[in-house]
Assembly symmetry: C2
Homo-oligomer: 697 residues x 2
């Protein structure tokens, strides 16, 4: 895709002299920064802004790498065909009026897709803002040329943004503030050809990019996206728009893109080691932090030292640090002694470290430097959170020595900055050039510290191409799938799961009371008896599940009752009763974008109430499975409380891995539901299960 | 306290010519804005900045209302006594060096407290930043005089801030930005005399104040604070520092103030209709919103229309709106028809309303105005969230007509604004002057919309002076309390609760199996038998609770077993077994700052795991009790699911009110614990309870 990012010659189809139009802004922006050749195309003008203007693309005498198109939608297909004939490699279509505008636009877009498929020309857009490359000063976009007046701040964060107006507006806001530098900002609009996965690949190998942020309204190639992110050595932050029901509806009508199941997306992103953002500015704030500190040692737990000029700000910081599950570092005796050399005698030293009394004694520079060096060399400190004020209070000093200590220690440093408006803005720019990300709100700073420490680093990339061998087990059950209607009964479902290594409750199918009694003779009381009527999935609701049967009398009674409730060809399932401390639900589903997925969550009455269920995309590595279990909110329940044993996480990981395997082995399976998966003495065991088959159209 | 806020003459004790010192800054600030008489006091100078300087306060020939003191701590007591002798009403002590600096400082502070008590002089501070009144241009503070260069923006938000450095730094940051106006900012420091409750009273009756924000590290007079807030017709926002454990430790060492139990504080604030903030800027952002819209009609549920220039921003807004429990308004057919008049034909209308295609057709002004008028007159819309861009895109137009429509409709309007740096800042100022609060992040805007709608408006203020009459019930049990050791046994505890109208399980105390059998003859099986050994609170852990007893055989067996486990003088408690769908815990505690409090939370194994317990300060009104129940997170559990009936909230409210009454009637009670409070067929009933007595020293 290099030709899009580093073209030598660009044709601008739709260039105009009308300064209120995008075709003028794009030309102006090209002329301000792009160092290659520019060919404006418009039959109405002989020249624009001093450049010779050509009537058609094929009038350009020299070779052209890419064309930027900004003409009415209806003209775009012909223009693209012209480009194809001229041997142009790629076209950036910035015009709107395609699938986002209803049926007619959709048809136009389909024509573009066909041209792309048939001719091999690469298409970027349509309905997008194009590309802004602040490092190379390539602005292939209709963003207001007034941005040049503020100066284009280069940086190491690159973005991929699906929404055109958003990327334009937001980018101007961020760039004109001057405190945030960008590398490449790619606006992909309706993404008919160039899309997030390919651009992500490109940015991963781009030397000017250290962190990548994406705003996406849909992730249609979910598995490819997951795989690409999981391979990325660079931090990736995703803001997925349309996570709520209403948000998703808005996404539908906005770019006609299907917003996937938000729990699945959330699981897949977590599995890929991607950081999730919820707002635009937050996304780039997180990117800044991750670009500055992409490689935190994995044994760091996030123990923070806070150096502040305000006790109150220290207290509020500690509140946020604790809320995020980070820690206020416990300072070593050595560190405390060092701090005491700058502190007034009466002042006790504790973290958060209120430096103000020491600043009054020694001045800002000496105090901050001494305190920084003390905490930086403390092995119990993983990161340092500095508070500073620009514009008085003796707190304006050169932070270069602190930045040098930071670099040699490899401990990340973050700053919360207050100050007089312009002084604070300038201080932020200077301090960030030293490599310290600066934030203007404590909450945001701590959020960003958090993602630097929480970013899940995968040992190995996720491999979507893993296919288990067709084993004897698969052969054994294939016929059952072929011959069954929409779902397999509980007993067969559990036999299959058991063959895939999932522990299931001991059970038999019985017709007579003597068979049941034989079962209790072997396995003891109490037992559970269930009526298996054909096609019934939710037995409890029909009174077909009887628990706590502890005598032969009860067996007879229950048998009679169950038989009364069911058709004559029904069977009785007899199980050992499993009493456990925790009820879980595990499952397998196929997501339209991410394919086979595994789910685990809390069961029982709290399943619906707490919505504590998490997803991962299959196949799961052991690390994926353990990470999935960690994502359940009710960790305290899993860790065992009162007298119950903690959950055996390795055993549950086996189940989740195998659940994914089962679904992957049988494309006939639409869904698997293990409910409940009871944890008894720490070991999870499937007590009820059903396998639901894909509907064949 | 008017003399502090509107003095006619001020003496500044500790005035100096040294421009780096606070004593100079205060003088400079006084001279920039204060219109009364200023008397610098310092024996070393004949004059400062052209004003005559007096050696001592009693050298001032004219009457003086207040003195501002900025001399070393050790000199402060003498200086205050001088002020007393001169008949000065109030002193603002801005010097530090008191209780925040250890033992010596604490002693100095105690001297000040004694002077205050004995002479009646009012003391503000010490260790504070004093007062900034931006409306009257009274800056009685050492904040950097450079703030005057930026212009002091008056506004209608007043603050009370406990931390000096914080209020100084934060105020300069906010004021120099120019987008946030303040009325009175009071920094109260160690608050030895003037404190939050009195200032809050003052600001509630201050005509220039429409919303009040407080940063507090301690709320020692919890009940008075709650009562004052609950009476306030003006919105109050509190940021309580030191809510986490580490935060609280920092608070301890910072201002030697005791951070109260955060769940109790959180409950009390909610009960008082106070909005809680978590960060400084967020607090003033919330205050701005509440000052603009303090009186939302109470039947508004928060149905939001979003007018945006970016589909992407609309989607992200919808996500936040849903996350906060607000609603994306469903537009009426009439509104949709009106919007269609400005929309291009191909564009479907839905909320969030993406106006960009309409802006391209009609321009920004016409489109936004038409859309605003349409949604503003829609009865299904409670508030309007406008997105705008300053600096291009045809979105720079006069919003006065929109502001006029807003005022006549009485529907609140909020704005998210992007734009070129300085243009956006200026646009924000202009738009805010029209009465529309503007935010720079979507998340923050929605948080602020949320607090405007969620602010709990009390019908009646909370009344802490309510004392129930000493009834027969109190007389009946008083002896029991006097004669009992540290706790009352389960049976007596429940008898007392029952006398206070709390439903308890049917039970008897038995010695013999025939008594138990008589009980089952009257009340049926199954029953629960509990061994009541003296001094044992946690019976389950000792095997003294036996459930599911359903035959006479079992009664005999269990009786023998229980008697084996206990000393000979123990009794057996026999209860009907209550099986319910939900297990709750209810309780009563005395908090050191807020006094008698009532607690309700989820019980069973999830009690500890979910930490879903909420507090309110007793006495509880019915509204308090119902509001408390609404604050439980697991609302879905309470609403009933699967086949269980929903909780009878009125019945639970009765229990909570009566639980508070019980505690208030008996000062001997330290704690009441009802665990479990089982909800059976929707009705809560106390199954186990214990009353723990106050330790007499």
């Amino acid at each position: 895709m290099d030709f899009f990012f580093s073209p030598k010659a660009i044709a601008l189809i739709g260039a105009t002299t009308n300064t209120t139009k995008g075709g003028f802004s794009i030309l102006k922006n090209l002329m301000m920064g792009f160092t290659g050749k520019i060919y404006p195309i418009n039959p109405r003008y002989p020249e624009i802004l001093g450049l010779r203007c050509y009537p058609k693309i094929y009038d350009v005498p020299d070779p052209v790498d890419i064309a930027i198109v900004f003409v009415p939608a209806a003209l775009v297909p012909d223009v693209i065909m012209d480009c194809v004939r001229c041997g142009i490699k790629g076209v950036m279509i910035e015009s709107g009026g395609f699938s986002e505008t209803g049926e007619d636009g959709k048809k136009l877009q389909e024509i573009l897709q066909r041209i792309c498929r048939e001719t091999g020309i690469r298409l970027w857009g349509p309905n997008c803002m194009g590309l802004v490359d602040a490092v190379n000063r390539n602005v292939f976009s209709f963003v207001a040329p007034s941005i040049w007046e503020y100066g284009i701040t280069p940086g190491n964060v690159s973005l991929i943004v699906q929404s055109g107006m958003l990327s334009a507006g937001f980018l101007i806001d961020a760039m004109t503030h001057g405190t945030m530098g960008f590398s490449k900002v790619c606006s992909i609009g309706n993404k008919i050809d160039v899309e997030e996965c390919e651009l992500l690949e490109y940015l991963i190998s781009d030397n000017n990019t250290k962190a990548i942020g994406l705003y996406l309204e849909s992730i249609p190639e979910g598995r490819r996206f997951l795989e690409t992110c999981s391979r990325s050595p660079k931090p990736v932050v995703v803001l997925k728009g349309g996570k709520s029901q209403k948000g998703a509806e808005a996404a539908m009508s906005h770019t006609a893109s299907l917003a996937g199941n938000s729990a699945v997306i959330c699981g897949a992103l977590s599995q890929a080691g991607v950081v999730e953002a919820t707002d635009f500015k937050q996304m780039i704030d997180m990117c800044r932090a991750l670009a500055a500190f992409p490689d935190i040692k994995s044994d760091c737990s996030g123990r923070i030292a806070v150096l502040t000029f305000s006790g109150g700000a220290g207290i509020v910081s500690a509140d946020f640090i604790e809320r995020h599950g980070l820690e206020i570092a416990k300072l070593s005796e050595n560190t405390i002694q060092k701090l005491k050399t700058v502190f007034p005698e009466w002042m006790p030293v504790s973290n958060p470290i209120d430096l103000w009394p020491a600043v009054e004694k020694n001045g800002g520079r000496i105090t901050y430097q001494a305190a920084f060096d003390a905490v930086c060399s403390d092995p119990g400190v993983d990161a340092i959170f500095i508070h500073l004020f620009a514009g008085g209070f003796a707190l304006n000093f050169d932070l270069s020595p602190i930045a040098d200590s930071m670099k040699s220690s490899k401990k990340p440093v973050f700053m919360w900055l207050l100050g007089e408006r312009e002084l604070a803005r300038k201080a932020q720019i200077i301090i960030q050039e030293l490599g310290i990300p600066v934030y203007r709100e404590i909450q945001r700073a701590v959020e960003c510290i958090d993602v630097v420490f929480k970013r899940n680093k995968r040992d190995l990339p996720w491999n979507p191409f893993f296919h288990p061998a067709v084993t004897e087990t698969v052969k054994k059950w294939n016929k059952t799938f072929t011959e069954s209607p929409d779902c397999l009964d509980e007993h067969v479902s559990k036999q299959i799961l058991s063959d895939f290594g999932i522990p299931v409750v001991t059970e038999i199918v019985a017709d007579t009371s003597s068979q049941v009694k034989e079962f209790t003779a072997n396995h003891g009381f109490p037992i559970v008896m269930k009526g298996m009527a054909k096609g019934v999935i939710h037995k409890s609701e029909l009174g077909l599940v009887r628990k706590g049967i502890d005598s032969n009398d009860r067996i007879e009674k229950v048998l009679t009752q169950l038989n009364d409730l069911m058709p004559t060809d029904s069977k009785i399932l007899v199980q050992k009763q499993i009493d456990g401390s925790i009820e879980l639900i595990a499952g397998f589903v196929r997501d339209p974008h991410f394919g086979p997925c595994v789910m685990i969550g809390l069961g029982g009455i709290f399943a619906e109430a707490m919505e504590d269920a998490v997803f991962a995309v299959a196949p799961l590595s052991r690390k994926d499975a353990l990470h999935l279990i960690e994502r359940i909110k009710a960790q305290k329940v899993l860790n065992g409380f009162r007298k119950s044993l903690p959950l055996d996480r390795e055993k549950l990981a086996d189940i989740l891995i195998n659940l994914g395997q089962t679904g992957l082995c049988f494309p006939q399976i639409q869904e698997i539901d293990i409910n409940p998966l009871i944890v008894s003495d720490g070991k999870p065991i499937a007590v009820d299960a059903s396998i639901i088959l894909r509907k064949t159209p």
